[in-house]
Each structure stands twice: as C-alpha cells, then as structure tokens.
Subunit: 115 residues, 6 copies
C-alpha cells in the first residue's frame, strides 16, 4: 500500500475506534446507516460510490474524497471515468474544487500504482 493510502486508513481506523469507544448511540447508528447507503439497490454500488465521491468533491472534504476514491478503485472505475467525475465536480462546484482535484489525482495515482 502507498504512503498516502496507508496513512489515511491508519488514522481513520485509530480515530474511529476512539469515537466508537464513547458509545454515543446517534453516532454509531449514523455510521451504520452510512454503510447501508452504498449497498446494492435500485442503483448499483458502483454508481452510489460515484455519487458519494462527487458529493464529497463539491463539498470539498479531502478525507471523504479519499475514502470514496478507494471504494471506486476497488469497484473497478477506470481513470477515464474518474476524470469525468472530476469534471462534473469542477463544473458544478467551480475552480475552488481544483486544489481538491489535485489531491484527489495524487491519491488516485497511488491507488492505481499499487494495483
């Protein structure tokens, strides 16, 4: 696993553990629900992960972007498809999305280099 990917996953796991150890029921249930949201349904998991990614991009949440990039990579989204998602995000959200696109592109390069 590349540096960026490993760092992201490690920090995420460590802090999720801290948060869940506090037993806040609303947070626990929201996180379960979050997982359910991307399950196969009337739309495929692949489509839903792309929706989650574009939503994260226009809201400019780098860690959310990384998470969905990882999922999209696992699900076989190609680089050409990925850049069309980036294009929608940049057009809808404007040039303020560009710096986030740079970090997304960097993370994506690491994901495809490691597989």
């Amino acid at each position: 696993m590349s540096n960026l990917v490993k760092e992201f996953n490690d920090y995420r796991s460590k802090m999720n553990e801290v948060i869940l150890s506090k037993d806040n029921l609303v947070i626990k249930r929201l996180w379960n629900l979050d997982t359910n949201t991307y399950a196969e349904g009337a739309l495929s998991t692949q489509t839903k992960e792309m929706l989650g990614l574009v939503a994260s991009m226009v809201l400019r949440c780098d860690d959310c972007i990384k998470y969905h990039l990882g999922k999209c990579h696992e699900l076989g989204i190609t680089t050409a498809q990925m850049y069309e998602i980036f294009a929608v995000a940049n057009i809808v959200g404007g040039t303020i999305v560009i710096p986030h696109t740079r970090r997304a592109a960097e993370y994506w390069e690491e994901l495809i280099a490691n597989n």
Copy 2:
C-alpha cells in the same frame, strides 16, 4: 406541463436570454462547457446527470436540482433510483438537505404525473 415545471423553465429561459444578450465571453463559454460536461463519454449521460443531481442537492441549490431532475426524468431514471440518490445526498449532506429533498420530491411528483 405542470405548474412548477413550466414556471421553472420559463423563468430560466427568460433570464438566460437577458444574460446571454450582454455578450460576456466567459459566461457564454462556461455555459457551453456545462452542456459538454454531461455528454456521453466514459460515463453515460444518465450517470452524469445523477452526479449533477447529487452534487446540486448537497450544495442545496433548488434550481440546479430542478434542472437535473428534469434531465433524469427524460433519461428514464425510476422513482426507486431517484430516492436512492436522495438518500446519498441526505447522508452525505445531513439533515439540512431535507427541506431541499421535500421540494425535489414535489417537483419529481409533477414530472412523473405529467409523464
């Protein structure tokens, strides 16, 4: 055409004409580019319109939502699929997306009632 749909389309056309009459080159080119963004490519037009919709929902732009709802309806997105897009938007964007989901649901009802 229903009231909401007609009102939205009429105001949109009227004001687009005013704006384009001013001959601002950047705005004209951005609008052309916007159209190109949703063209068939590595991703289907249908997928891209869904991406545009979910992005509009989390950014809470009612008119952008209406525009993409219209496009999704033309492209044959079903009601079950639509509500899965709504679900992603509500989970990613939180409960502040709910009022926009209400207006989206109302507009969608008019679109499907008018076939």
Copy 3:
C-alpha cells in the same frame, strides 16, 4: 397559528408523507435518528435544540431554522436568549447570515404573538 407557521407546518407534513410513502429505508432511518438526536441525554433537549438552531443558521437553511425556532419556542427559550443565539450565528457565519436572521426574527415574532 400564524400564517408563516401554518404554511411551514402544512407543507412539511404534506411532503414528508410523499417522501415516506416511497419506503426508502435509509431516509426513514435517518429521520428516526434525527428525532433521537435531540432527546434528553447528557445535554438537555433545550440545549440540543439551541445547537440545532445555530447549526441551521450558519448553514443558512431557512426551513431548518423555522423547525428549530418552533421547538425552541415550545421549550420556553426567551427572546433575549434567542437573540444571543442569533448573535453567535451572525458572528461565526458572518453578515451573509443577516438575511436569514431577518426571516428568523419574523417567524419568531409570529411564534411569540400566538402564544
């Protein structure tokens, strides 16, 4: 009930019914969870509703603001307290919160006039 309050509640009920009739499990569960979030706990319901209000104000969601204003009114928040919440929202979120504060103030006047 005043006009603004009745209109808000009626539209909200009507559209919630439409949305829930589509049986999207994620949306249903998110809405249940939303209700639980404001239940009495380590913080009082009153404090939580104030938190929900200020969050809605800085995110500039007029309908979310109306909802929490109604709840705060039921729970006995005073006008002096309410304007201190408005002050926090305007300082944190800036002058773009002012137009939303105007609509919040109008709605609050109707709530206190009717009780």
Copy 4:
C-alpha cells in the same frame, strides 16, 4: 422604484427595525462594523462594494447580492463591469451560482431601468 427593489428594501427595513428593537449589543455592533467595512480607505468604496458582491455571489446569498447590486448601481458600476463580476463568481463558485446570477441579472435590469 421597481417592484423587486422596493420589496427588498421594504422588507429589509421592517425586519431590521424588529431586530434592532431587541437591543442585542453584539448584533448592533456587527451591523455598525458592516457599514464601516465598505468605507473609503486604501481601497475605494466602489472596489469594496464589488468585493462584497462577488463574496455574496459565491456564498449564494440572494438578499446580500441584491444589497450590493443596489450599492454598485449607486456607485456607477457599468453593466459590462457587472457581468465581469458575475463571470468571476461563476468561474470560482461553479454552475451552482448560475441560478443566483439569473436573479441578480433580473434585479440589475430593474435597477438600470429605473435610472
């Protein structure tokens, strides 16, 4: 005065009066400070109003946009200049700014028609 302009100004005045009558010191002082922000200084009032406008556009606050459009009109900003401000806002903020640009264009037409 046109309809849109009069309506905006009337509602603004009426609600400002309500809010100020509650004597919340933080809000009062923030509003005074807001006025000072646009005073002649190292930058001209004209430049500052343009800054206030573009900030309001990318934050998508229609009432804030109307306010600064009124000020820019008083200060002699031309239509060609105005559309270049719109262009910056649309490029930086993306196509979600378009619906707000439509409403801004409509308001601007009324401002220039009445003078």
Copy 5:
C-alpha cells in the same frame, strides 16, 4: 500541554500578532466583538461555547473547532456532553463532518489527558 494543543495555540498567537500589527480597524473590532459574543448573558458562557463549537463543526473549520474545544474543556463540559454535540453536528451537517469529528476527538483526547 500536549503537542496538538501547543502547536495550535502557538501558531494562533504568532499570526494574531502579525495581523493585529497591521492596524486594520475592522479586523480589530471584529475580533473584540468575537470575544464579547461568548460573554455571560441571557445564555451562559458554557452554552455559548457549545453553540460556537457546533457552528464551527457544521462549517467544518478545524481550527475554529479546536479553539472552542479548548474553551469547552476549560468550562467543564464532560466527554458525554461533548459527544452529544458531535452527534448534533454529524446529523445536521452529514457524514462530511465525520473527518472533522475524528480530528476533534483526537484534540479532545489530548485536552482531557492533560488535565
């Protein structure tokens, strides 16, 4: 003092000094006003700091979150109360608030470990 807390406070002090040395009156007065906003009034300082925290969380400003976490810690907010604030922020603002909640949780751990 822990690393994260010290780093945050040091950078904040250093840059505040730079900014204030430029004698911009609007910025100086806004910062004074910011301090007044959280003073004891119709609402307690504790409640106001919780309001400031939840507002910072839904607006996803990590440094603002750290600042209010520090204040809440000084004022005796418990971990159970803190996680109920986190829950409101995550429900209102959606799953994009989760990465900010992770960093908030990490900072909170350091605050409580050092006291």
Copy 6:
C-alpha cells in the same frame, strides 16, 4: 522564493501536469477559461484578482487564496489594501474565515519579504 511559496508552486505544477496528461476536455477547457476570466477587460486585472481572492477567502479555500495572493502581489497590491480585502472577507464570511486569514497573512509576509 520562500518555503511556503515554493512548496505551493511546486505541488501545483506537478499535479496540474498529472491532471492535464489525462486529456479530459472539460477540465482542460475550464482551466483555459479560468485564465481568461482574470484578463484585462471592463475591469482591470488587478480588480479581478482582488475579486478572485475575496471569493476564495469566503469559500475558505487555502490553496485558491495562495494563488490569488501571489497574483495580487505581482500586480502591486499594497499591504494596507490587502488587509482591507481580508476585512471584507471576515465580515461577509464571519469568524470562520479567521484561521484562513492567519494562513493568508503568513503567506503574504513571505511574498513581501522576498521582494
């Protein structure tokens, strides 16, 4: 060139190259359009860069801020003028803009120290 400025420029160049190598037409054209937006026109390049900066500040995009700070510096904006732009951004966008103002002030110091 200072550290912050060099780091920003290097990363930006490296990732722009990666992104452009993927030949996504929409992204390429958006980036060209972005350049055109700030060209001399009815408004001067200087005014447009200030507009781009204030828009980036209220949208709280640190990298966008750095980019426009660099341009403003090249175009001869003074420190007094710069802090009036910061003031508008802080008033319109609220105290959540303060941490971004700190980083902007730090970057500005490096720009003026190196020239």
